[in-house]
Subunit: 151 residues, 2 copies
């Protein structure tokens, strides 16, 4: 569903979410949201800035951070912390796992890997109000694994 959307559909989603909260539609927000939706790969705040600069120059990094935080609270974007370096932002809100390379830090999506609903239920049993689950697989990416074997 998110995978094949026209740009106007993408914009519509953001505009609707903003209007619902009486927030303003700005070019910065539109462009940042588009950048996240158009890329398969996750991006750091700085990469987002780099991606939008050609189409809308002069945007500042604090604005990018503020907007990413806003998009997260609107439920349009998810935050993925790998523990090494900057936080990554992901516009694919649907459940999917991530692989993270322990060596080079490369991060990829892993489709069709459902985070167990049992854990969700168990969290609820403990009084926790679960919202969403995030499954991260650590290891070596294909390139780094090959490099290790060669050495």
């Amino acid at each position: 569903m998110t995978g094949s959307s026209t740009q106007s559909e993408i914009d519509q989603r953001l505009v609707a979410a903003l209007r619902r909260r009486n927030l303003r539609v700005t070019s910065q927000r539109l462009v940042i949201h588009r950048a996240l939706c158009s890329r398969i790969q996750h991006m750091t705040a700085e990469q987002v800035l780099g991606a939008i600069s050609p189409s809308l120059p002069g945007v500042s990094l604090p604005t990018v951070y503020a907007t990413l935080e806003l998009l997260e609270t609107l439920g349009l974007v998810r935050r993925l912390a790998t523990g090494s370096g900057a936080v990554l932002f992901d516009s694919r809100v649907q459940q999917h796992a991530h692989t993270v390379c322990r060596q080079c830090g490369a991060t990829s999506d892993l489709d069709g890997a459902p985070a167990s609903n049992r854990a969700f239920a168990r969290a609820a049993d403990a009084g926790f109000a679960p919202d969403h689950a995030q499954l991260v697989i650590w290891g070596l990416c294909p390139a780094c694994a090959a490099q290790v074997r060669a050495a």
Copy 2:
């Protein structure tokens, strides 16, 4: 297994791992490892420093970071990045999920929640050499959920 170990057993594990790699056994390493193993809760580097200072004063934060990284490569400790604030370190190496409160950041263990082996297999199919999986459940902790209901 890790749950009920005497201190000498805990020390043994570290000493063995160090010797195996011809690394030195220092009081700093012993004390930091003990601190992580004795606590149920995960700790930031700074909390580790606070925990060891009574028994071994004068240890520096850079040493704590270096030691935590070493313990991680030795497989005695795991890193848990929540994306808000400092990275947490966890001495429970066995598979278990974590709950993280979106509001207050509180992090807890969730036992008996197996991270799906299917995802592991799927990662391997993609050429990725999986090492370990980490399942994080986001939401509201019992306290924050109650607070939201009250408001």
